[in-house]
Symmetry: C2
Subunit: 109 residues, 2 copies
């Protein structure tokens, strides 16, 4: 797991980083969180590649800046559905999304 991702998780209280953690987080839950974080990062990357602010993207999504921020941060209150909608709105096709999901953090490996 890379530094950036870990920091992001810890910041949101996912309790991921330091060795003893992952306690209380089943492998299944970990998989889902991992996917969500990857999608959040991909969303940010795409948004920036499009030269859009969070506010600008929010308008396209008929959402709000704060929610976009939470999407990129993989906040507990954002669904994967919403992340996918955001990515698709930024031109991501299913195969692009597939590539993002596949990005291993080395969980099982």
């Amino acid at each position: 797991m890379n530094k950036v991702k870990q920091k992001r998780l810890e910041a949101k209280g996912w309790r991921v980083g330091t060795a003893s953690t992952f306690l209380g987080l089943s492998p299944e839950e970990a998989s889902l969180v991992e996917m969500k974080v990857n999608l959040g990062q991909a969303l940010r990357a795409r948004r920036e590649a499009h030269g859009l602010s969070q506010l600008a993207l929010a308008k396209r999504l008929r959402s709000s800046q704060s929610r976009v921020a939470k999407m990129e941060a993989a906040d507990r209150t954002v669904s994967i559905d919403l992340l996918l909608r955001g990515l698709v709105m930024l031109g991501a096709r299913p195969r692009d999304i597939a590539r993002v999901l596949g990005r291993g953090t080395g969980a099982a490996a």
Copy 2:
């Protein structure tokens, strides 16, 4: 788009199949529906591979038989989050899910 998938979509009123349709369904929405249908099919395949009934899977998911049926049918009322939870619960890893999402129906191609 293959026959089975199309039948499934039409049955649920997604109005997909016959040439003139896809009207009122934006490319973005189509992408999302397509992914959802693929996930539903994958869920059924995995469940059957595990020799589980919908009811048995429902118990593992702490859900109900009816909801599992709706998941596999890609019902409008089921979220992609729920589908992913189901798949992960059946042992699918992110890379497995990625493969499912990537299955093109020829939308953009």
